[in-house]
């Protein structure tokens, strides 16, 4: 721990230690969510998507990302709060989930946060959607940040029959 303490001298408040986690934080309405920074591939402005038939309302369609087709998920709709009406100011965060690339439509990307893994709390039982879609909750500067479970977000997107 001596070594780690030494490192603090270099940092200006942002500590990167073995036990810490860097997040990209983004907002949906008033609420802040985060994903681990290592999964993020690219952040781009919303520029429309081609709708996909027979998919859930939170699948906004597909975009062309340098020659590959990438699906876009509307995170607001995924949380059951209705579809986003996207403008040029909305942002698509492209991430890798397993071996696939997906985009998530959010209102804005706010910050890069460094949090301590020990500070991650379990999602309170009760609301299944919360426990299903969040890996945990972390507090950052008195804001509540929900950690998105990407696998859960992108699953079950197809409407059968």
């Amino acid at each position: 721990m001596d070594n780690l303490a030494l490192k603090d001298d270099y940092g200006t408040g942002t500590q990167v230690t073995q036990n810490s986690l860097q997040l990209i934080a983004f907002s949906i309405g008033e609420q802040t969510y985060g994903v681990e920074i290592t999964t993020v591939r690219e952040i781009r402005a919303w520029n429309g998507a081609t709708p996909l038939p027979n998919t859930r309302e939170y699948v906004r369609g597909v975009i062309n990302l340098r020659g590959t087709i990438v699906p876009i998920f509307d995170l607001r709709a995924r949380f059951g709060e209705g579809q986003t009406s996207p403008t040029k100011n909305h942002v698509v965060v492209v991430m890798s989930v397993g071996d696939k690339w997906v985009g998530i439509l959010v209102d804005a990307v706010s910050d890069i946060l460094t949090v301590d893994r020990n500070d991650i709390h379990n999602v309170p039982e009760g609301n299944t959607m919360d426990t299903e879609l969040l890996n945990g909750i972390v507090t950052h500067e008195s804001r509540m940040v929900g950690l998105i479970d990407l696998h859960a977000v992108v699953s079950g997107a197809k409407v059968d029959g």
């Binding site: 709708p51 038939p53 027979n54 369609g61 597909v62 590959t68 087709i69 699906p71 696939k100 409407v159």
Partner: protein
């Protein structure tokens, strides 16, 4: 290390080609074509596999291949008849060799006793037919169809020496002595072999030492290396070829054929002369000076001469040696004229077919003797294909940008664009032709599968293949292997009945699976057809209802039931065999084929058989499509499936009893699918302003798609939706338009096929 790995990879590549060749050759042999060319090809293939295997230390493979090779050698010499049993044994042996190769490739070991049975059979066959057993005369007739030409001993050639008079005086007495002792000469023939390798010989990893060792097996061998051409160190090229060899072989039994055989695999890569000598020249043994040799083999120009080239040799065994003998131009030429086998092969005799000749033997093989080819890494070709794909799209985008005003103003530009379009098309065709391959490469893997299936199921099955030369994109071919395997398994397991049952039904005991390929317009049709019992529709429907694939209250048509076998998780097999019945398989076929832009159609007649047809695109890279709009989103429909387009205001719609819309076109009633409805989106357009795109799905069934607007035709590159998402019913994939937006490709076949599930839901 990576060098060795490269060599290994090349070796395995070659092995798979050779194994394919083996399949082909034996297919022809089983078909009754038992010419020596076929056996030679088989022999060479096995020998090459063995040789490479030895270099990498695959000892099990080498041991087996060696035993097999011995058998083949006996067959080739006519010592063993290539009857049905031997053929079957050989085919089995090919499979075992393939297994050894695969095991070596995967780095695994097969069981210690693997192939032991077959080896025992080889040994039994070969030891029961020792070379001496063969009758010297009249034996030809008994030796079966194979390689009669090889049955001749070389003794007659020796006798020809007597006609080769006069010889230089100095040698005359000795020669006479030799001929006086003619029987002895026949017993103790000697050979002078001059061997001058070219650099290709080494480049192909041949080693003279191995050849010499092989020769030494034939008799007493003396090797003298001629080192006088080696330059001073300053001029020495590390990869230069400076060493040639003179060899003397004393052997009571060796024949010119046997000696030539040793060099068979370096044929064309070396200068080689094989000269029969009288025993007298034993004196010069160890010192085969050029003078001696020249003297021995230098009769006057018009006399017969004994330099044996490959071509001569073949002729010699055709008993017209004197006629074909090569005159020696001048005594100055050491060891007479060193005939290059390649030259000699200009008139290849049947028994000594040159490699080119042997290649031509494939019935539908289009490789001619003069065709040259290079091996190119597929990645490199793919890079070109991708770039050409992008070029085609850019070109079609440019053309779209040209509106009428621009056209009028910039006529030169328009002309330039037209030329560009043409050139791009040509370039694309040329590139696709590079990737095109005959389906033979995947068809040839199937005979083995059928044999194994027949064995496992205890059924008698024969496989017929048609249209193997049909060419199709390499990527499609690669994707074809699994679906075809599943389909053939399905036919063997569920289609073909047991021999007893077939007999009781009055069918031939041996079931037939026919694999065919043909080109139909922009598509390739590949069909797997069997003459089995057909699809058991009652059982299929029962299972489908049980598994909830079809709702209890719907009654699908026969054709719809047939298609059910492609539903995920569907299997009628009561017992799960290791062949099929796990319910994965046919749905895998469907998804694999859909992935490459194809479709599957099944047609079955109870008691008569089942035919499954795959419709595949000729190329994967670029698709001709019609661009349409549905609810404001771009969709493309493959042009190959479109029959015609009609404005809705002029279309003749009717209503079926169920309330569904039907279209009457040219006296036919066609199912109508409103894409906006089907894709659960709202259409803003009036019906009157919309369009009907009449499409033809698999099996000639038409379907009318209603779209909001037709934009035009263009070429697109197919992109996978599944790469980052999952497959969607009714959508075959995506593509990127000139403006960078994504358009979805309508899956015409899928729209028709999923109708049933929709009703059921």
């Amino acid at each position: 290390m990576s060098d060795l790995d490269d060599f290994k990879a090349t070796y395995f590549d070659e092995c798979s080609e050779l194994l394919t060749e083996l399949e082909e050759q034996f297919a022809a042999i089983q078909g009754g074509d038992r010419t020596s060319d076929r056996l030679n090809a088989v022999f060479r293939a096995i020998h090459s596999i063995k040789g490479g295997g030895g270099a990498f230390g695959f000892s099990e493979l080498v041991a087996f291949a060696h035993a097999y090779e011995t058998l083949l050698d006996h067959v080739r010499d006519g010592r063993i008849e290539l009857g049905e049993t031997v053929t079957v044994l050989c085919i089995r042996a090919n499979d075992i060799v393939a297994d050894f190769v695969n095991a070596a490739k995967a780095g695994t070991k097969l069981g210690a006793g693997y192939g032991a049975d077959e080896r025992q059979q080889f040994d039994a066959l070969t030891s029961g037919n020792a070379p001496e057993v063969r009758a010297p005369a009249g034996g030809d007739d008994e030796s079966g169809p194979a390689m009669d030409e090889f049955d001749l001993d070389f003794v007659p050639v020796m006798v020809n020496l007597e006609t080769a008079a006069p010889v230089p005086a100095a040698e005359e007495a000795a020669m006479d002595d030799n001929f006086a002792a003619a029987p002895l000469v026949a017993d103790k023939p000697q050979w002078e072999i001059r061997f001058a390798p070219h650099s290709e010989l080494y480049a192909r990893a041949n080693d003279p030492l191995l050849l010499f060792r092989e020769l030494a097996n034939l008799g007493e061998l003396t090797v003298v290396a001629r080192l006088n051409e080696i330059p001073p160190l300053a001029d020495f090229e590390p990869f230069g070829i400076y060493c040639t060899w003179d060899l003397t072989l004393v052997s009571p039994t060796a024949t010119a054929e046997q000696i030539a055989e040793v060099f068979e695999f370096v044929e064309g890569n070396c200068d080689l002369s094989i000269v029969p000598l009288a025993p007298r020249s034993v004196t010069s043994k160890g010192d085969p000076s050029l003078a001696d040799l020249a003297a021995i083999v230098t009769p006057p120009a018009d006399a017969a001469e004994e330099v044996i080239s490959f071509a001569d040799l073949a002729d010699a065994v055709k008993k017209d040696m004197p006629k074909r003998a090569v005159p020696v131009p001048a005594p100055a030429a050491p060891v007479a004229k060193l005939l290059k086998p390649a030259e000699a092969a200009a008139d290849p005799a049947p028994s000594m077919a040159s490699e080119d000749d042997e290649r031509r033997t494939g019935p539908e093989d289009r490789r001619g003797a003069g065709v040259q080819s290079i091996r190119v890494d597929l990645d490199k070709v793919d890079r070109v294909v991708n770039m050409v794909g992008e070029l085609v799209i850019t070109q079609s985008m440019l053309t779209q940008q040209m509106d009428d005003t621009l056209r009028a103003r910039y006529q030169e530009l328009v002309r330039g664009l037209e030329v560009l379009a043409q050139t791009t098309r040509g370039l694309q065709d040329a590139v696709m032709a590079i990737r095109a391959q005959p389906v033979k490469s995947v068809f040839s893997r199937m005979p083995r599968l059928v044999r194994e299936l027949a064995q496992k199921t205890g059924k008698k099955i024969k496989l017929e293949t048609i249209g193997e030369a049909t060419e199709i994109d390499k990527t499609v071919i690669e994707q074809l292997s699994d679906p075809l395997t599943h389909m053939i398994r399905n036919s063997a397991d569920h289609g073909i009945e047991t021999p007893d049952r077939r007999k009781s039904l009055g069918k031939p005991e041996i079931g037939t699976i026919r694999l065919s390929a043909e080109q139909a317009g922009g598509n390739i049709l590949i069909a797997v057809e069997d003459d089995g019992g057909g699809i058991n529709r009652e059982r299929v429907l029962e299972v489908a209802r049980h598994k909830g694939i079809v709702a209890a209250d719907t009654t699908p048509t026969d054709e719809q039931i047939d298609q059910l076998i492609f539903a995920p998780g569907f299997s009628t097999a009561e017992t799960v065999s290791d062949i099929s019945g796990r319910g994965v398989g046919m749905d895998v076929v469907l998804s694999n084929i859909k992935k490459i832009g194809g479709s599957v159609h099944v047609k079955s007649k109870t008691g008569q058989g089942t035919r499954m047809t795959l419709r595949l695109p000729l190329t994967l890279a670029v698709l001709d499509v019609m661009l349409v709009k549905v609810s404001g989103s771009p969709y493309v429909i493959p042009l190959s499936s479109i029959v015609e387009t009609i404005q809705c205001s002029r279309a003749d719609f009717g209503r079926a009893p169920s309330g569904a819309k039907v279209l009457r076109v040219r006296g036919e009633y066609v199912q109508v699918v409103d894409l906006a409805n089907r894709f659960q989106m709202m259409s803003e357009a009036d019906l009157g302003n919309r369009f009907v795109v009449l499409c033809e799905a698999e099996g000639g069934v038409k379907i009318a798609l209603i779209v909001d607007d037709i934009i035009g035709q263009q070429q697109v590159v197919i992109k996978s939706l599944e790469e980052n998402f999952e497959s969607i019913d009714g959508i075959a994939g995506g593509t990127i338009l000139g403006d960078g937006n994504v358009a979805l490709i309508v899956d015409v076949q899928g729209l028709k096929a999923t109708k049933l599930h929709k009703n059921a839901a």
